[in-house]
Every structure is written in C-alpha cells, then in structure tokens.
C-alpha cells in the first residue's frame, strides 16, 4: 500500500515537472512553471522520506541544511553576468550527486551479498542484476565526466585559467585512449562486481576524461559545452534511476537530457558546426588565414567618438543594438537600457538583435538585458531581424565580433564559413564599440570594421554607451 502511495506521489511529481517545463514556453507563464517544478521536487522528497528504508533523519536534516544554505547563498548573491559559471557549478553538483548515489547503491547491494555469488544471495534475477550493474557503470561515468567537466568549465568562465582552448600534441589520441580505458573499466565492473574498487577506478578514469574534454574547448564554444553538460547531468540522473529502479528519476532525468540535447543542437546550428567539430576541433583548427588583418584594416578604419555617434543618432529613426560577450564583460547592460530610454523618448525605435551564440551560454544576452529591465519584446532573433536590417538607420555592435563578421558569407575558406551572422553590414551606418581591433574567438580579421558605412568606437563598452547617452542628452 505505502509503496503504491509513494509511486503515485512520484507520478504526480513527474507530471508537475512536465507542466513546469511547459510553463517555460512563455515569459508570462514561466514563473508559475518554475514553481510547479519546485513543488514537484518537494513532493518527490517528501514521498521518499516515507520510504521504509529511511531510518535516521539526523544526517538527512544536516545534509539538507548544509546544501540548502550553500545553494541559497549562491543563488542570491550571484551577479547576473556570472550566470554561466553558476549554471556550470550546479551542473557539476548534479553530476557529482549521481556518482555518489550510484556508488552507495552499488556498495549496499555488494555489501548484502558479501562477494562472489551475488545472484543467489541478493535474490536477484540475473538480467535485473546486469541491468543494475550496467546502470551503475553508466551513472558513474556520465556523472563523473559531468562533475569534473563542469568545474573546468567554471574555471574557464570565471577566468581562473586556460580561458582559451588548451591543446597539446596527440590530444585526440590521448582522449580516445582515456575514453577506452574508462569504458573498459565500466565493462570490467559489470563482469566482476565483487571487486568494488573497480567502481572508483572507473570514476577516476571518467574524471580525467571530463577534464581532458572540457579543457580543449574555450571561449565562444562555451555555450555548446554548458548545454552539453546540462544534458549529461540529466542523463546521469536517469541512469541513477535505472540503478534504483525509480521512475521519477528516470523521467526527470530524461526531460533534462532532452533539454540539453536540444540546446546543444541549436548552438551547433548557430555556428554551422557539428558537435564533433566543437568537441574535438580545438579552437576551430589552425585555419589557413587567407586574409591578413593589415590588408583588411589598413587606412580604411574610421575611429569615432561619443559626440559623433550622438550626431548620427540624431537623424535616426530606427536603431538596432547587437550585444555580444563584450557587453557582459563590461557590465554594460544597464547603460544600454538608459541609452534605449533616452532614444525612445526622442521617438527613435530601438531594438536588440540577439545571435543564438552571443555570450557564453544559451540565452546569455537575454538574461542580462532582462536584468536591466529591457522589455523582452524588444529582443529580436537573428532570423527575424535580418530581413529588416537594410531599413535600419544605425546598428550599434556592442562587444560582438565573429557573429557579425561578413567573411562567414563571403570567404568559403574562413573558419567561420557558413555560420549564420547578423547582417549589420546592411544597415545604413554601423557603429562598432570595441576596445581594439583584436580578433574575436575565431582569430580572423573582420572586414566589417573597415567597411565604408562602419565607424569604430575604441572604448570599453559601458563607458562608450554612457558617453553616447550623455552626448545625445546634451543635443
């Protein structure tokens, strides 16, 4: 009876998880959706506490108190610009939890059987037994890759070290070897489960794999990594569900897995690259740079100032701002919002064009602009704004580079060839706010900066926007 009640509670939780994610399909219903998901989690937790196997509550209370305190502090104190790091950290903890739970469940079963004749003493059917062992191996591997991969991603995003893509000779072969060793240890574990140390050896090998895979990826490829790790943390939870034969874990885990896969696909498509290329291609490969930056820029780049931009804006009716990672670094989102308000008060139509991979995680720019209270209907997707770009009077590129580089369309040998870009070059005037002419992640010059209709404003993003806003106000 009680088992049925627990399972019915899990069913209710699963339904609420699905409704919760469904709520995220519109900004209006999203808060309610998130509440549904949180409620679902609470129901699942309470139901689990009713399980007859839960005997002591001291450790549980202590564990939950510590975890909730740390989680709440992180959630309240985090700056919106540091959101990619935080998502990476949370992903890591999710993966780590799966490793530990699968490990504990595995030790419990092995402890109950005391070694060799597992099947007889545990009273399990052989197939079920293999299912449990295989799921344990998968859970341990994916969870460990997620945990260690996420912390490398965190370190890179926090700019602690190796912000770019680190590569060494024979990297792919080493990665492949470590992957084979990891899977080999997993198979050995399934074959000889009485050797419980194999589990930890396998987890350690997977840890090295997670480190190696993430260390090789940097900068603008981060959105793919974050989305992929998100998917892994879900799949690890689902695998743990197979270990514990717990349906709510399987359902919730696979929902998260699906979410991560979809985001990964969107990110890869937005860069016109395959997942394999992102994961193993290093920093877009050496790329035979057919265009040297001197040829592109020499004598053609026009520098501008806040006053000049204000003068140009004076005659503009339609302005589009294209934010990139530079806006996050400069924390320029509030300054941009102020500029938008000033321009709108003068009857100028202001919109934002968001490239899918702008920033360091999916939706990065949207969150920052939401923080600055820019209404979300002013944020336009690349595909919807591009056909209207030729009617735009002034396009302001703020800390973006590769996502507005026309070489993607004109130079088939370029490392970003075929990547969809925001067609700012079509606008009447383009103002590029950037501290220098240094190349973006793709390490190639950007002919946009030397275009006839382009002006370069060499300044920190926030300072530049504030100076423009000041100059507009003084007109």
């Amino acid at each position: 009876m009680s088992v049925n009640i627990i399972n019915l509670a899990y069913l209710l939780a699963s339904v609420l998880f699905i409704l919760g994610i469904k709520g995220l399909t519109s900004p209006r219903t999203a808060v309610r959706g998130n509440t549904y998901s949180a409620l679902a989690m609470l129901i699942a937790v309470v139901a689990t506490l009713l399980d007859k196997n839960v005997l002591t509550f001291e450790y549980i209370i202590a564990g939950v108190a510590v975890g909730a305190l740390i989680g709440a502090i992180l959630a309240i104190r985090i700056e919106m610009t540091a959101m990619p790091q935080l998502v990476a950290v949370f992903n890591g903890f999710g993966g780590g939890a799966s490793v530990l739970v699968a490990g504990a469940a595995f030790l419990e079963v092995m402890g109950a059987t005391q070694g060799s004749d597992l099947l007889a003493k545990a009273g399990l059917a052989p197939a079920q037994d293999y299912q449990m062992l295989i799921a344990t191996a998968i859970s341990g591997i994916i969870g460990s890759v997620t945990f260690f991969g996420s912390f490398i991603a965190f370190a890179k995003l926090q700019r602690l070290f190796l912000e770019g893509a680190a590569s060494f000779p024979g990297q792919r072969i080493v990665n492949l070897l470590v992957a084979i060793i990891t899977v080999g240890l997993g198979i050995a574990l399934v074959m000889q489960p009485q050797n419980v140390n194999l589990y930890w050896l396998m987890v350690a090998a997977a840890a090295i794999l997670g480190l190696l895979l993430t260390v090789a990826i940097g900068g603008a490829d981060m959105p793919v990594v974050i989305a992929l790790l998100n998917s892994y943390s879900g799949l690890a939870a689902a695998a743990t569900g197979f270990v514990l034969q717990n349906n709510v874990l399987i359902i919730a885990g696979s929902l998260v897995g699906a979410s991560g896969v979809i985001l990964t696909k969107i990110m890869c498509k937005a860069m016109n690259r395959s997942l394999v290329n992102v994961l193993f291609g290093g920093a877009l490969g050496p790329g035979e740079t057919t265009v040297s930056s001197d040829d592109v820029y020499e004598g053609k780049v026009k520098a501008t100032s806040g006053e000049e931009v204000a003068m140009i804006l004076d005659g503009a009716r339609r302005v589009v701002i294209i934010p990139g990672y530079g806006m996050a670094v400069a924390q320029a989102q509030h300054a941009v919002r102020d500029l938008m308000n000033i321009l709108e008060a003068r009857g100028v139509q202001v919109e934002f064009a968001i490239h899918p991979v702008a920033g360091r995680m999916p939706g990065h720019m949207n969150v920052l602009l939401a923080e600055a209270e820019v209404p979300y209907d002013k944020l336009r997707e690349m595909d919807s704004i591009n056909p209207e770009m030729s009617q735009v009077d002034v396009a302001i590129v703020l800390g973006a580079n590769d996502v507005v580089n026309p070489l993607a369309k004109t130079d088939p040998s370029s490392p970003i060839a075929g990547m969809p870009i925001i067609d700012v070059d079509q606008a009447h005037t383009v103002v590029v706010i950037k501290r220098s002419l240094s190349p973006g992640f793709a390490k190639i010059p950007n002919p946009l900066f030397a275009a006839d209709n382009a002006l370069m404003y060499f300044e920190d993003g926030k300072v530049a926007i504030q100076e423009i806003a000041q100059a507009v106000k003084e007109q």
Partner: protein, 96 residues
C-alpha cells in the same frame, strides 16, 4: 528483465515528451530553461535521501550524505536562481 523494459519504456517516452515541450521554449528563456532543468536534474536527491537515511554501512552513509549536500545545492540553488531570473522577465512583461 521486465523491470528494465518498463524503465526503458518510461525513459524513451519521457525523452519524446521532453523534445516536444522544450522545442517550444523561445530563445529568450534558454538560460532559465537551463538552470531550471538543471535544478530538476537534482532529482538525484531522492536517491541521496535513501542512501543517507538507510543506516547501511558507515561508508554508504557518508556517500549518501555527501550526495545529499550536492543534490540539495543543485535543487535549492537551481530553483531559486531560476526564480530570480524569471522575475526579471516578468517585471517588464506588462510594459511597452
């Protein structure tokens, strides 16, 4: 084997439901989607509760409590930060 097949059935169907629902999430909400689903992946907390509370051996209790701390950080932090973000989206929803 039976249990595994039932589990696999649930898994595959849930993946399809996930694909159907998540494809409709607009790019504006992709970050909250990530942090929200991430909090959901903290569902491992149920497994952690079982390990931490089952008084099996000292080692499994330690593993269970550590898992519980990790999963709770993921769940509590994940839902709270998602809520914080979504509030920002809601605030300006009515305007303009």
């Amino acid at each position: 084997m039976e249990v595994f097949v039932i589990g696999l059935t649930i898994f595959v169907l849930a993946v399809f439901v996930g694909f159907e629902v998540i494809t409709k999430v607009p790019p504006t909400l992709h970050t909250p989607l990530m942090s929200g689903t991430n909090a959901i992946s903290g569902i491992t907390i149920t497994g952690a509760l079982l390990s931490a509370g089952s008084e099996h051996t000292l080692l499994t209790t330690i593993l269970g409590v550590s898992a519980l701390v990790f999963a709770t950080i993921n769940v509590v932090g994940g839902f709270m930060v998602t809520h914080r973000m979504l509030d920002m989206f809601k605030k300006k929803g009515g305007r303009s």
